[in-house]
């Protein structure tokens, strides 16, 4: 039987606020345990939550970016359960009527365009962390993360392959970082996904029973966990089993998913409106203001780069992978007269490779766009050959400075002086009469021999285009 995979994703996006969702504690990552846990985060008796305006603003911005409806009036609700990393014994979240309703994410997967409708995106607070190592079978609770604002973004179950799920998640990651509501740091847990996975016989309308895989904090883990879960469910059903609805965890070391304790599945969260708060109201003026804050979105910018600069869809996609890349590119080509194609080639080639080798983001690139532009100009005007440009690039990366200054100081000037090239070719032809004869008898292969020798003789500085023309003319005796 052929099986169809059905996936819905719930993504927890940590919002890039300075302070927490309901308290004035810092959201900074990496502090000593419980240093960023104030009276409200610790749920001391008598404390009260007051929501962070910026977190709501970020949610509105996201809603606008995905074309969703923004609820003008909503309530925060309490989700009740006991867990030591949940200090109040309830999580403040949204249940009915979340801030963001509907909308969609559009992306490419396996060569085709996909549109994934979103069910909702709601604001909530994060829990703390339980640490299990080295406490003699006991757990230590760190509440620094408790109360950090999250936007939980939920899709409809319309994803049909592992590739689609991963492409969706990458696109969402690109979007939330692009519009500046999330730092996107997956290692620190700023962007993590839960996947609802089920299978059904191809053609069947009803959904199969789903399992929820929690806390996938890398695209690679997501890919492997869903693939594993797909195979597990299919194998289980084909062997006569029935999938039970449960929560599972992906173990990257063993590359498998495992069921969490069944108690989790017998929960009744008793959602009800948080009586410590009043309705959350969002008026037209606020929405209009957030619309002003929204930058040109990646898809729109990619289209513009294609239309205005004639870039390929592929190049435009690469350049709009992040705000950092896009801004870098725009600085190179806006009002500079720089050839966009040349800029793209260098960014996606040398620059990307170097950043990857150095494990750096473009936002931390040692080479400023102005420096890069200085280099590209000398390539564009023919001063530097490709080979020389790479050398200059490496010097710029390692030592900084300006391209022109490096070219002058180290003699990276390309030889374009015709008389110099001519005398160089004449000497070569005189030294290799046999090869000249061969060429003239129609064996064009030896042309490469002359190019190589000429380049070598010029110390690699001959302008390749000029050399080519000149050499061909001379060999054919056309003068």
């Amino acid at each position: 039987m052929k099986w169809e995979l059905v996936i819905g994703l719930e993504t927890h996006v940590q919002l890039a606020t300075r302070s927490k969702m309901f308290s004035g504690s810092s959201t900074a990552f990496g502090a000593d345990p419980n240093v960023h846990a104030d009276a409200v985060d610790l749920a001391l008796p008598g404390v009260l939550p007051v929501p962070n305006r910026q977190a709501v603003a970020f949610a509105i911005r996201f809603g606008l970016a995905v074309g969703a409806n923004i609820s003008r009036r909503s309530w925060f609700a309490r989700k009740n359960y006991f867990y030591p990393d949940l200090p109040k014994g309830y999580q403040i979240s949204q249940f009915e009527n979340p801030v963001v309703q509907g909308g969609e994410i559009v992306f490419q997967a396996e060569g085709k365009a996909c549109r994934v409708p979103l069910t909702r995106a709601h604001l909530e607070e994060d829990a703390g962390k339980s640490l299990h190592e080295a406490f003699h079978g006991r757990s230590g609770i760190d509440l620094n993360r408790a109360g950090t604002p999250l936007l939980e973004i939920v899709t409809e179950p319309t994803l049909r392959s592992v590739a689609e799920a991963v492409a969706y998640a990458r696109t969402l990651h690109q979007l939330v970082t692009w519009i500046g509501i999330c730092d996107g740091n997956m290692q620190e847990g700023s962007f993590r996904c839960d996947a609802n996975v089920s299978v059904r016989p191809m053609g069947q309308v009803e959904f199969g029973t789903r399992c929820e895989i929690k806390n996938l904090n890398s695209f690679r883990f997501m890919e492997r966990a869903i693939q594993y879960e797909f195979e597990r469910q299919v194998e289980w059903i084909e062997n006569g089993g029935t999938v039970v609805q449960e929560t599972r965890l992906y173990d990257p070391d063993r590359d498998e998913t495992r069921a969490m304790r069944s108690k989790e599945n017998a929960q009744d969260y008793r959602y009800f409106p948080d009586p410590d708060q009043l309705p959350l109201c969002i008026d037209e003026a606020w929405i209009a203001a957030e619309r002003q804050h929204l930058p040109e979105l990646p898809a729109e910018m990619a289209q513009r780069l294609r239309d205005q600069m004639g870039l390929s869809a592929y190049d435009a996609g690469l350049l709009t992978v992040s705000r950092g890349w896009a801004n870098y590119f725009l600085e190179l080509v806006t009002g500079t007269g720089m050839d966009p194609k040349l800029a793209v080639n260098w960014m996606t080639g040398e620059l990307a490779a170097m950043l990857k080798r150095a494990d750096r983001e473009i936002s931390h690139c040692p080479l400023q766009p102005a420096q890069m532009l200085g280099l590209l100009r000398r390539i564009q005007d023919g001063t530097l050959s490709g080979k020389m440009a790479k050398e200059v690039f490496e010097i710029l990366w390692e030592e900084g400075g300006e391209a022109d200054q490096i070219i002058t100081a180290r003699g990276f000037m390309q030889v374009s002086d015709l008389s110099v090239l001519e005398s160089l070719i004449d000497e070569l032809m005189a030294a290799h009469p046999d090869q000249v004869a061969e060429f003239r008898s129609g064996k064009e292969k030896v042309f490469g021999f002359f190019v190589g020798r000429a380049m070598k003789a010029s110390g690699g500085r001959a302008n390749p285009a000029q050399l080519n023309t000149l050499l061909r003319d001379r060999l054919k005796g056309n003068h």
Binding site: N34, L42, L44, N52, P275, L280
Partner: protein, 97 residues
């Protein structure tokens, strides 16, 4: 409206409530619950189909906080109240089963 409280329901309620119940409580709670349920079942007397629920006496819009870090590190003070600590962490029985 509600059924009286059977043993099983009481067990579920106790678990959701995070409460261990002793034998005496298990014996006496069902009767007390019946009495409470009789009281609150009177709510079913009223037709409220056209009425919006009222969660707060004033349901006007909520003020929001500006995004500012206003809390200082008071870990030592707060942790002076803790039953058990290690290295600045609150210590509990293993959370993994």
């Amino acid at each position: 409206m509600a059924d009286s409280l059977d043993e099983n329901t009481l067990t579920v309620l106790a678990r959701l409530s995070g409460l261990e119940l002793n034998a005496l409580e298990r014996a006496s709670l069902p009767d007390q619950f019946d009495s409470i349920l009789t009281l609150i079942d009177r709510l079913q007397e009223v037709d409220t189909r056209a009425i919006e629920p009222l969660a707060q006496a004033f349901d006007h819009c909520m003020r929001l906080r500006e995004d500012e870090v206003t809390s200082q590190n008071q870990r030592d003070l707060f942790q002076s109240l803790a039953p058990e600590l290690v290295d600045g962490l609150y210590l509990v029985p293993n959370v993994m089963e």
